[in-house]
Symmetry: C2
Subunit: 287 residues, 2 copies
């Protein structure tokens, strides 16, 4: 998904929010905004919002010297989600359709996102997503693909959401490669976050090599790319990964809640919609 | 009032909104946003938001060649307000406190503002402002100043709101100089808009010489400045004029609704508050 004009003001809203998380010095924050301005005046908008966002966050890190502004936020989210884990596990066990309950919870966990919103109500959102209709529902294809798949790649999104991913992976009950970001970017999950969330117990955790707030293939490692190319089922979580991968040809199932108007518009849906969307072909690509 | 960090993203929101009013060509809009970026990366933030906003709108005019993007919007707002005029006049006539009802209506008219919001509900806002408590209420000082004043200057804000100003000026029943912008800027009232609103019947309409979305003194004409310096009562309408004049020393009564979080914060009030606030001394300044 290419960047939209509406992304433009949003980059500044995100930069301001993140800068304030790192420093209270107004001069430093203004310097960040001005450098983001200069950067956006020069950057091509013929790329994904994730790619431009990566540049914005690199500016913040460079100016403040803080490499992981969301470190504490991420740890808090993971702890919060881990505390919910037993309750959520029981919810799945007691449900008639365990897989789809786990899918819905994995989407609900996607509400934990400081990139698009700084306030969220996890309890409220959990309940809403459990009863909300899918605006795009390829769950039959998903079930079928799961039965047939031998190599499953699960591309992670945010820290905290990781715990919800774990629940879904446990329901899938098959070997899964769980790909996380190479370095901290916003509240996206890194290896450290995945391990803290217990993902190593249920999957093979690997870095994608990418440090953008979306799994942009050109920034990924050759190792990840091999896994990506040979996977016969790819699960992509969240908006950032959708932005980065929506135009790709591989058999990707996108699980997300459309939390921003731009992504909702790109999907042709209303803001707040939840989707389990299949894109791409179900064939292996020879590497 | 100096620009706040939160103004930064807002300049882009405003630029995007205005650009879209003028053109649907995405390339042109992106060019505007990029030039606004470059401008904001260089401009001092030690000035008022109105001054920076002026630069933003000049970029839009220069790139698109459209000098008055809000021309149709302004005319529509004026017609809408004129249609309400008889009803509003009757409301004032029937009220116990005619002056304060007129003041409240003048503030309600201030909701007609495409600079801070593109959607408003005039009827709803009229009713709300008629019953809403003033968060800052210097109405006693205002009554007193009106009795004593021999030279009243009324600094206009938006087109459409102008009709509401006319009602207040009619209640004041004294000679008033009504100052408008020199050139079109957002939906701010120009001489043409004032005349269309019937202001020439009740006041002396003059241009302030200023083409910013706020009456910034350094951009005003010498003629306006003489009127400004010799006035013993100045009425300033709206946020833009507050931004431009809030640190000045003249006896200014600010009538506005705090429509954006930044102005609300500067006033130490909640968003949506209405005020009749006196600032400055009540003495003439020798020119």
């Amino acid at each position: 998904m290419k960047a939209y004009l509406d992304c433009y003001p949003c980059f500044f809203i995100q930069a301001l929010k993140t800068a304030r998380l790192v420093t209270s010095e107004e001069k430093v924050i203004l310097q960040i905004l001005k450098e983001v301005s200069l950067y956006l005046s020069q950057v091509s908008f013929d790329v994904t919002p994730s790619e431009i966002g990566r540049g914005v966050y690199l500016i913040i890190s460079r100016i403040t010297g803080v490499k992981d502004p969301y470190k504490e936020v991420k740890e808090r989210c993971i702890r919060q989600a881990l505390a919910l884990y037993p309750e959520l596990k029981q919810l799945i066990t007691a449900s008639e359709d365990r897989l789809m309950t786990a899918v819905r919870l994995a989407i609900a966990g996607n509400v934990i996102d400081f990139g698009t919103s700084s306030s969220f109500d996890l309890d409220r959102d959990l309940k809403a997503v459990l009863s909300q209709d899918f605006a795009l529902d390829h769950s039959d294809d998903f079930r079928k693909a799961l039965v047939e798949a031998s190599k499953i790649l699960y591309i992670a999104d945010n820290a905290g959401e990781t715990v919800f991913d774990r629940l879904l992976i446990e329901e899938i009950g098959r070997p899964v490669v769980y790909a996380v970001r190479e370095k901290p970017i916003i509240n996206d999950a890194t290896r450290e976050d995945a391990v803290l969330s217990g993902l190593e117990k249920v999957s093979k955790v690997m870095s994608s090599g990418c440090d953008a707030p979306g799994n942009i293939l050109k920034f990924c490692s050759e190792e990840f790319f091999r896994v990506y190319r040979s996977a016969d089922l790819i699960i992509s979580k969240g908006q950032g990964n959708y932005e980065a991968l929506s135009d790709e040809k591989r058999p990707i199932f996108f699980l997300l809640k459309a939390k921003c108007p731009v992504v909702a518009r790109d999907l042709g849906l209303e803001e707040g919609s939840i989707i389990l969307l299949k894109r791409g072909r179900n064939k292996k690509v020879l590497s």
